[in-house]
């Protein structure tokens, strides 16, 4: 490896210019500690002189009593991680290492090899152009080799280097190497890597690392570092279809409106006609603005600000494309998921989905099958556990612009986020769109309750709370609404406060007025449920007759009467609005429980005991019973 020049005689400016002109290669290392992965990375850092004098001195000290090469250093110590991990003797995460030669700068994602770290490997692979798949020459192709290779193909890493390590421990035997390479090629064929190079190395001794080893005269391919320095991994992203996700609207003053973002694929020039993917509205690019001056064109990977020739409705999350090159625009697609959370995935659950700058609520509508990462066998499943890979269909709340992941990772790769904890739950790769939303013809079907309910991904229903004032109806309804909303459901509470003050403000408290009050509320609840909502009605509704009326109005809509059974003494002691006090003092007439009766429901679907448990526990109980 040629090193940065160190002598004062060298032409400094030339060297500096060379430093600014290097290309960048990101690669991933797959393999376990036993395969010599840490030693390999440590060797790369050492050979590229990235190890500094003070680090080297402490390394030599630490390397005593360990297996070392000629240099007297245990290279694996160089890639040590966090203290918590060091103490536990495990590697739990992705670590990034950096080294460079005169030709290239390298960013290495170092990921653990065991099955329980599939998510970490997927994470590391997501930004890698190339992967080193390590094999211990003594052991050959193992189950983990297959797993690593499958994940690489899943995440779309195109270039693989099969590093057959510890070749010194099999006496530099060509037959061993050839058999491993043949075994690997036989199984990796269908995974569709664009390039596959196999190199026999000893990371510990340095064979075939920087140059040809005298110990493997039978090997005529490149040594590892020269290969990494020269391999062309550019997919020619600039030649692909133009994609520009708008990240930020740049508006310093009324005279300037630009759209800032990074060109994800293709290229764009001043004068080009572009289209907004969602609305199909066209515009012409009038300027490409950067702080270094306007550009005439920009290519994939450049962060720029585009100015268009006309006023268009365009904001963060939109994608600019070109006529004839538009991405898919749909609210349903098939995708593969790598599940990254301890909490399993279930079909029907709602999550947040982020692709590019678009963030939308989304639901897994169907779990087609799970793929065993070791055997590639596909099996039926009802949930997805941590580190499992599954093929699913996903519906988003509104259409989004995307591409198949194999065509464009930046517009086809997404994450799922938990709506409550905001944790990142899964990485997803879109396979294909299932329905083109722009082709939806609204005449082709009647918009009815089922259609609206499917759009919302929920079953509309009416939950009718009955019980004394102060029994806890509203508290429970509020907590249930919060939980449903957090889960991505669309719910609404109808109660005295929001109905009596508006819709029913003309009604008093005579018996006829009370019946009319309930009738109107029941009708509104039915309309809301018909529009797809989960409606929570919280009214004292003391009379059996009124409740029966509400049930009849609901018709074929699922109706559940929930009786919050709290003894009068408890309600009166709580008296949150001071109403009992006023009723007892005679200030309020016809007050339920005091001078007007409450008829306990005989056929409520569910009874909640308001004096025995906290509202939160009761809301949870109700949530479980509703099976939403």
């Amino acid at each position: 490896m040629s090193l940065p020049m160190r002598t004062a005689d060298d032409d400094l400016d030339l060297w500096l210019d060379q430093q600014t002109q290097k290309s960048l290669l990101r690669f991933l290392t797959c393999g376990s500690v036993d395969d010599g992965k840490s030693t390999l990375i440590g060797r790369l850092l050492y050979d590229s002189q990235m190890v500094l004098d003070d680090q080297l001195a402490s390394l030599k000290k630490e390397s005593r009593n360990r297996m070392v090469g000629e240099e007297g250093i245990d290279f694996s110590l160089l890639v040590d991680g966090l203290t918590a991990e060091r103490e536990q003797g495990i590697t739990i995460d992705v670590a990034y290492r950096f080294f460079s030669t005169d030709k290239r700068k390298f960013i290495v994602a170092d990921t653990p090899g065991h099955e329980q770290y599939t998510r970490n490997m997927a994470t590391g692979a997501s930004n890698a152009d190339l992967a080193l798949v390590l094999i211990d020459a003594r052991k050959g192709v193992l189950t983990q080799t297959r797993r690593h290779s499958f994940i690489l193909s899943l995440i779309g890493v195109k270039h693989v280097v099969l590093v057959v390590n510890k070749i010194d421990l099999v006496d530099y035997d060509q037959a061993v190497f050839d058999k491993i390479v043949a075994d690997y090629r036989a199984f990796a064929g269908p995974l569709g890597f664009s390039s596959l190079e196999a190199i026999p190395v000893s990371a510990l001794r340095g064979d075939n690392m920087l140059g040809q080893s005298a110990n493997t005269t039978w090997y005529h391919g490149p040594a590892l570092v020269p290969y990494l320095e020269t391999i062309d991994v550019s997919e020619d992203r600039s030649a692909q279809k133009f994609r520009f996700p708008v990240q930020w609207v740049n508006r310093p003053n009324l005279d300037f409106r630009g759209f800032s973002g990074t060109v994800a694929a293709g290229s764009v020039a001043v004068g080009d006609e572009v289209l907004i993917a969602s609305s199909r509205k066209p515009a012409i690019v009038s300027r490409i603005v950067t702080m270094d001056g306007d550009l005439t064109s920009a290519i994939a990977g450049q962060a720029v600000t585009l100015v268009l020739d006309r006023e268009v409705d365009l904001s963060r999350g939109d994608v600019l494309t070109r006529p004839g090159e538009t991405p898919e625009f749909s609210n349903q697609f098939q995708a593969r998921l790598v599940w990254m959370s301890d909490e399993p995935a279930y079909p029907g659950r709602s999550y947040l989905l982020k692709v590019g700058a678009q963030l939308v609520p989304a639901t897994i509508t169907d779990l087609k099958f799970r793929t065993n990462v070791n055997t590639l066998e596909q099996t039926a499943a009802t949930k997805i556990d941590l580190n499992e890979v599954a093929t699913v269909t996903i519906a988003t709340d509104k259409p989004i612009a995307f591409d198949a992941y194999r065509r464009n990772a930046l517009t086809g790769g997404f994450i799922l986020v938990d709506r409550l904890s905001n944790a990142t739950l899964a990485a997803g790769t879109i396979e294909f769109g299932l329905r083109r939303a722009q082709n939806l013809t609204y005449q082709s079907f009647d918009v009815n309750r089922d259609v609206r309910a499917t759009m919302k991904g929920q079953k509309p229903r009416i939950v009718w709370f009955t019980g004394l004032s102060g029994s806890g109806k509203s508290s429970i309804a509020n907590l249930l609404e919060k939980r449903l909303t957090a889960e991505g459901r669309h719910a609404y509470i109808l109660d005295g406060d929001n109905v009596r003050h508006g819709l029913n403000k003309d009604l008093g408290f005579t018996e006829a007025a009370r019946v009319e009050n309930i009738r109107r509320v029941a009708e509104v609840a039915r309309l809301m449920a018909d529009s797809g909502l989960i409606v929570l009605v919280s009214f004292i509704s003391p009379f059996e007759k009124e409740r029966r009326l509400a049930r009849e109005i609901a018709g074929d809509i699922d109706f559940a009467e929930v009786y919050v059974d709290t003894p009068l003494e408890v309600c009166e002691a709580r008296d949150p609005k001071g109403l009992y006090k006023r009723a007892r003092a005679g200030e309020i007439k016809n007050f339920t429980g005091i001078d007007s009766p409450f008829e306990p429901p005989a056929n409520a679907e569910l009874v909640l005991h308001g004096a025995e448990e906290e509202p939160l526990a009761l809301a949870d109980q109700l949530h479980g019973w509703l099976k939403i």
């Binding site: 680090q55 203290t83 990034y96 290519i299 962060a303 994450i415």
Partner: protein, 302 residues
Amino acid sequence: MTTPSLTHLQTLEAESIEILREVAASFERPVMMYSIGKDSSVLLHLARKAFYPSKIPFPLLHVNTTWKFREMIAFRDSMAEKHGFDLVSHTNPEGLAGNVNPFDHGSSRFTDIMKTQALRQALNAGRYDAAIGGARRDEEKSRAKERIFSHRNANHAWDPKNQRPELWRVFNTRLNPGESMRVFPISNWTELDVWTYIYSENIELPSLYFAKQRPVVDRSGTLIMVDDERFRFEAGEAPRLETVRFRTLGDYPLTGAIRSTAATLPEIIMEMQASRTSEREGRLIDSDSVGSMEKKKQEGYF
């Protein structure tokens, strides 16, 4: 192949700009840490580029221990005026009242009170939900695993074992109330990248990085500059003029100078390539104990 492609510095620059824009677009109250050093200078330059022709849409926060080199403060103020950004400076008022200083309280307690605690105060006072910093993954082992968007709980603490997976460039910027994010746009830059970028973009730096005659005392091999009259001399100690420069900038009594004649950027880069000691060696706060940086980070230090 004749396809136009980007150099590694162009790629790093574009990615950092994308990260900065994502912060501006996703958070309610972002802030950028400004420590006046070379990494901060690069960050400032990138932020100006990210939002041009708009001004930087968030304030820059400087945690002032009152023990910074005087030139740093002058440089800071001149940058704020030149580039028109909002500058927020914060000093721990209790630390100031108690005259907390590196001489009487030691580097560890001084750093905790005037840096870590002061930072927490400033972040709480500004109710910032995202704080952008100039840390790099090549600086220190514990940083190698930190995310670009690094989640902090309501106490500003980092949980290294429970980090969110970070895939492609799809960043999860969602927070619960009270939580915040630390964002590191130059995570993937190395020290050499920073210097070559400064060189190619002609970024202005405090002159402390360049060799000059300065009054220093030698404390067991570490050269400390006598920057003002508050310096405590030990018995028999006297400042003497030496040609030195600094590889990192911080509190002057805690920042070691190196003997050097490198007075231009190319000379500095050259010297850095030839020298074989790691950057943080000149920072006294790291040498207290093994894994000390990781511990500080868990407590909220940048």
